[in-house]
Point group: C2
Chain length 115, copies 2
């Protein structure tokens, strides 16, 4: 598990500062499989996870859902046959907060855990 | 439950004919909450279901997932805080088959069942 995955999430309010471009570059090195995308005009972190079938994909969606509930921070999860696309961003600021990078790293860490 | 929801799905091969425009108009009357959209250039049925929070949204995603596994026909499910967007289409023909309308009607019927 990366060091980033072990950091605590901070409470995030609508006046919280988004991460700077320099911080994004530094944090992205910890989660190299994630892409920085614009979705509905909002910067988000995106990663596609591949699975053998729909059932395994849905099981992973539920794992990420549990992680989200524990953190009180929720992604968008696109579940399809054989893949799950995960999007992390912070609704309160319509952008990226350090929490999103922490949760992306924790999502990666789920892959190394038993289902 | 609509009559459509009670019809059996047919096996669908890559040479199966997609539904005609006239058939689409007739079938759409049975599932008035669904929109006909183009996603990645493929015609699909889309409906957004609203929920109180992430947990309830994810529970619905799992209900639709169970329905899909039983039918052997799988949608794309976008799970977010307070909503699930369901997309039905037929991968084998890159378009809409009658099965998609049947599964959309069955998805509607889930709302009237206990979770």
């Amino acid at each position: 598990m990366s060091q980033l995955a072990q950091q605590p999430c901070e409470a995030c309010r609508s006046d919280a500062p988004p991460v700077s471009e320099q911080e994004i570059k530094t944090l992205q090195r910890e989660i190299p499989e994630w892409s920085l995308v614009q979705r509905d005009g909002i910067p988000q972190l995106e990663r596609v996870f591949a699975f053998r079938n729909f059932k395994q994909a849905l099981a992973f969606t539920n794992q990420v859902g549990d992680l989200a509930e524990q953190a009180g921070h929720h992604p968008a999860l696109l579940t399809e046959w054989g893949k799950v696309t995960v999007f992390w961003w912070t609704h309160a600021i319509n952008g990226l907060h350090k929490n999103d990078f922490i949760l992306a790293a924790r999502t990666d860490a789920l892959l190394t855990q038993a289902p």
